[in-house]
């Protein structure tokens, strides 16, 4: 059986079923690219995969066990990159990254911080306060977190937004390296990142339906 899989997933928002019957199975080294028009539920699906929110139907499984059975343990295996970069204007670039490494339970040595910054080309900005970063640089700093500590599953929501071509290439490189180490990636994107033999899941194939479903929290 697959290491990370989902079956029969459905999500509802405000009486609309965004998608239903979504499923996939990933083995170590696999990459899954979510595509689909705006509002088709890519971000919602990624949030569900991170254990934020409950699916209306279906199951998400790690090693054949429902992730909701032990969310804390599951969340220790993933890294997410959302639309928000989680960058604090008052902290320096190096301080922020060292903080994230320590929070992940790893030792935040200067060498480790430098290596992660070098992976996204920010090594010269280590002592710069984050409020002076451009939107693209903030995005790269958020990406540096991926390189800073090792987690087997990456869930990336439009990771290439705001990045220049060189940074997109280095993002593709980071993903390839991660997969070589046996990591898995699920990402949503509107542009071709040039990932080798990645599978594609088009949410356009799962059209939204008006069901009058209640959101789980209103049920």
């Amino acid at each position: 059986m697959a290491l990370f899989s989902a079956a029969g997933l459905a999500a509802s928002r405000g009486g609309r079923r965004l998608f239903q019957g979504v499923g996939f199975a990933l083995e170590p080294g696999d990459a899954l690219v979510l595509v689909g028009p705006n509002g088709s539920g890519k971000s919602s699906l990624l949030r569900l995969l991170a254990g934020f929110g409950r699916p209306t139907a279906g199951i998400i499984a790690w090693d054949d066990g429902d992730i909701r059975a032990d969310l804390d343990e599951y969340r220790g295996r993933i890294q997410i990159l959302g639309h928000a970069d989680a960058v604090k204007p008052a902290l320096r670039v190096g301080e922020l990254l060292a903080f994230w490494i320590a929070l992940a339970g790893a030792a935040a040595t200067p060498g480790r911080v430098d290596a992660a910054l070098a992976a996204v080309g920010l090594e010269r900005l280590r002592e710069t306060p984050c409020r002076f970063l451009s939107a693209g640089q903030k995005r790269r700093l958020a990406l540096a977190r991926l390189a800073a500590y090792d987690r087997p599953l990456w869930l990336l929501d439009e990771p290439s937004v705001g990045l220049d071509t060189a940074s997109i290439a280095s993002l593709a490189g980071m993903i390839a390296e991660h997969r070589e180490r046996g990591g898995m990636v699920v990402l949503s994107t509107h542009q071709d990142l040039g990932l080798a033999d990645a599978r594609t899941l088009s949410l356009a194939d799962y059209p939204a339906v008006e069901t009058g479903d209640q959101d789980w929290w209103a049920a």
Binding site: H83, A84, A90, R145
Partner: protein
């Protein structure tokens, strides 16, 4: 442990660099307390009798000032989701943030009590007792406040809602805090009040982080 220290360290750093919250709370405390002599008239005896109460009530209100931002900024910029994925259980995340809140607002408030006490003509024999009651009481305020901040996360006008939620819960702390400090005036022992305050702190330390973490999980769903 490492991650816990890192989170406290980061919050202290943010507080000192942005410079606002702790300083604002202390200034509010000093200013609000110094309004009372104007309001009730400059009678030294009367002031001395109500000084401990004034200091406690204004300290309680001052501690509320920065509370609504305890989790708000982390929630808005995506940090809270990252914290949920960290090696630290959410309960300890809450505890770390409450500790940082206490260090940034509670400790300066205790120190500012000394000049304010002089201003209000507080009996100097009472001052050590008042400081001790604040030392035991202000961490409870930060912990209860943490629960309120987590529960009102994402609510519109959350700051007002937070005050309405938290203030009633803080009444017992206020009662025993003031009673503990005032016992000296009546020539009574204040051990019982302090033991009760310490008991409340001992209960709040494990219970509040659990309640607040449940609130954060709800906000993240």
């Amino acid at each position: 442990m490492n991650a816990f220290v890192a989170l406290v360290h980061r919050d202290l750093r943010l507080a000192f660099r942005q410079g606002g919250d702790g300083l604002m709370a202390v200034l509010f405390f000093v200013l609000a307390a110094s309004l009372f002599p104007f309001g009730i008239g400059p009678e030294p005896q009367l002031l001395a009798r109500v000084a401990a109460g004034i200091i406690w009530v204004t300290a309680l209100l001052a501690a509320l000032l920065a509370l609504d931002r305890l989790f708000q900024t982390d929630w808005e910029d995506g940090t809270l989701e990252q914290l949920a994925l960290s090696a630290l259980p959410l309960e300890l995340v809450v505890l770390a943030k409450c500790l940082a809140h206490w260090l940034v607002t509670g400790v300066p408030l205790i120190l500012a009590t000394i000049p304010v006490a002089v201003l209000l003509n507080l009996d100097l024999h009472e001052l050590p007792m008042l400081l001790l009651s604040l030392l035991l009481g202000t961490p409870i305020l930060s912990l209860i406040g943490g629960v309120g901040a987590a529960l009102t996360l994402g609510a519109r006008r959350g700051g007002v809602l937070l005050s309405l939620l938290v203030l009633p819960l803080e009444i017992p702390v206020l009662i025993f805090g003031v009673a503990g400090a005032d016992a000296v005036l009546a020539g009574r022992e204040s051990q019982a009040q302090f033991l009760l305050l310490a008991g409340m702190l001992a209960a709040a330390l494990p219970l509040c982080p659990f309640a607040a973490a449940a609130g954060l999980r709800q906000a993240l769903e």
